[in-house]
């Protein structure tokens, strides 16, 4: 679904990522780990086309990202659900409106999807917060709302950046459970996290692979995890 071939990236200083190869086959479940500042977020941004590689190629759904025009990028992003590290909500819209945002921007009738939306809110346990504003939610609630927004278009790929960053263990396990369920439904999953316990917990339930960013390169982590 997503492929990086000898990709490199720099924000202008030195390379953050160098000669990086990665392939996410359909239905796979990958963790991306590495110390803070190692470039996890940067790698994910390459995957959802917010950044273009400074060297090498990124292919999404077999299309070279560098060759896509702006509308193609928009259309391709509708097939990738992203949970951003900082959630990226629109603060003036309610939680429900934020979750429904991808439907609206892709021209779908939001009211026609109301029952889906209610179901989705219940699935992430936010049915009582639909009309709240994002800033009125707790950290964990925000991340669950972000997950709901990521899956509302029923995307082929789900990318999550530290989705359990500021929530307790119980909630983190619940959220991971949601992602495992999605993977069982055939979605391709890529999750950046530095929580090794969480990774071990998920690996016990599903066949997840663990990639480690180290010294600007990507390594496949061994069985030591």
């Amino acid at each position: 679904m997503i492929e990086l071939a000898s990709a490199a990236f720099t924000y202008g200083g030195g390379d953050i990522l160098t000669d990086l190869n990665l392939s996410l086959p359909p239905g796979s479940f990958h963790f991306l780990t590495g110390p803070s500042g190692s470039g996890k977020t940067t790698l994910l941004r390459l995957c959802y086309m917010e950044l273009l590689p400074t060297k090498g190629r990124v292919r999404v759904f077999k299309n070279d990202v560098a060759a896509m025009d702006r509308d193609q990028v928009a259309l391709t992003r509708r097939r990738i659900g992203v949970v951003h590290q900082d959630c990226k909500f629109l603060d003036h819209l309610s939680v429900a409106e934020n979750i429904a945002l991808p439907l609206g921007v892709s021209g779908q009738n939001v009211t026609a999807q109301a029952s889906n939306l209610i179901e989705l809110l219940a699935w992430v346990g936010l049915e009582h917060h639909a009309d709240a504003l994002p800033q009125q939610l707790s950290g964990g609630e925000r991340q669950r709302a972000a997950l709901a927004r990521a899956v509302i278009m029923s995307p082929d790929v789900i990318i999550a950046d530290e989705p359990t960053g500021n929530i307790d263990w119980e909630m983190a396990i619940r959220l991971m459970q949601l992602l495992v369920e999605l993977n069982r439904m055939g979605k391709t999953i890529l999750i950046a996290t530095h929580d090794l316990n969480l990774i071990r917990n998920v690996k016990a339930k599903t066949s997840a692979r663990v990639l480690r960013l180290h010294n600007r390169h990507l390594q496949l982590a061994g069985a030591d995890l």
Binding site: R70, D71, K88, H92, E97, G107
Partner: protein, 300 residues
């Protein structure tokens, strides 16, 4: 794209697309106010353009059809020369009729300058013959030569001398009014572009979030375009109505007949100013759209 289609798209456009951009308090008010002020100016400029146009047409049309022959001759020859001139005129092609003004008529013409008790008989006042032309008028040069031969004291005056500068002035005024209209439209476009750019800059975060969830540029642009188009339409409508009211209440100077005669709209012309709000909406539609698409290209 037709104005109506644009307006319909702008007005109906989905509410949801509009909500994704947070409301923007006072820039909205300022945009509406500026549109109203521009529309107000546009209405007066339009009135001026129409009035000067009418003036130029009327002057050139009316004056073109009349001329005067002025006969200055010693008292004894006056009658003979008048008869000679009338004979010449009668046989000249392009002249419909010729008629000497009576003493009473001449006295009336001169009254504003010399008072009603003018002793016409004791003054060497020239005799005036009113000439009505037809079919594009006579061959003026030939007529002048014939008059000089038959009645040396007669001068044919087709009013070109004083008509042409007036008509020119009126035409120039109409041109200036047209240029002013164009400048008002351009200034409105510039003002809307500035306001839209400010709104786009203020909403950079919102725009980047929308891009990340898969919004196309046209979708994001639409939210801004709809807003500015409606604002310009509303503001311009208010400005137009106020200005039309002011034109309507303009004291009529028609009878006193100065330059201001007929500044305003007549009959079907009242429809023209009503187009100004739509013109403003059209201008702001394109200005916002261009500004939005240009700004969006800079956001990944």
């Amino acid at each position: 794209m037709g104005v109506l289609k644009i307006l319909r798209a702008a007005a109906s456009g989905d509410k949801q697309a509009d909500r994704v951009v947070p409301p923007s308090g006072y820039t909205a008010t300022l945009t509406g106010f500026s549109a109203a002020a521009m529309a107000f100016l546009a209405v007066f400029t339009l009135a001026l353009a129409l009035a000067t146009g009418r003036l130029a047409d009327r002057w050139s049309a009316e004056l073109a059809r009349t001329a005067t022959v002025r006969i200055s001759a010693p008292k004894g020859q006056m009658q003979a020369q008048t008869t000679a001139v009338l004979n010449v005129l009668k046989t000249t092609p392009g002249i419909k009729s010729a008629r000497p003004l009576s003493d009473a008529e001449q006295r009336k013409l001169l009254a504003p300058w010399f008072g009603p008790d003018l002793p016409l008989d004791s003054l060497p006042i020239p005799r005036l013959i009113e000439v009505v032309e037809k079919d594009g008028g006579p061959d003026v040069e030939g007529l002048r030569l014939r008059l000089a031969a038959e009645a040396p004291g007669a001068i044919y005056d087709d009013h070109t001398r004083w008509r042409q500068p007036l008509v020119n002035a009126a035409r120039r005024l109409r041109l200036l009014a047209g240029i002013s209209m164009a400048l008002i439209a351009l200034a409105t476009a510039a003002m809307i572009t500035l306001a839209a750019s400010a709104a786009l800059a203020a909403n950079a975060t919102v725009i980047s979030v929308l891009r990340l969830v898969g919004a196309k540029d046209t979708y994001i642009a639409r939210a801004f375009v709809r807003r500015f188009t409606l604002r310009a339409l509303g503001g311009a409508a208010v400005g137009t109505l106020l200005a039309m009211g002011a034109v309507l209440l303009l004291p009529s100077a028609a009878r006193e007949g100065g330059f201001l005669t007929g500044l305003g709209f007549q009959g079907a012309e009242w429809i023209l100013p009503l187009l100004i709000p739509f013109l403003a909406a059209f201008v702001s539609f394109w200005a916002t759209r261009m500004a939005a698409l240009r700004t969006l290209r800079g956001i990944s």
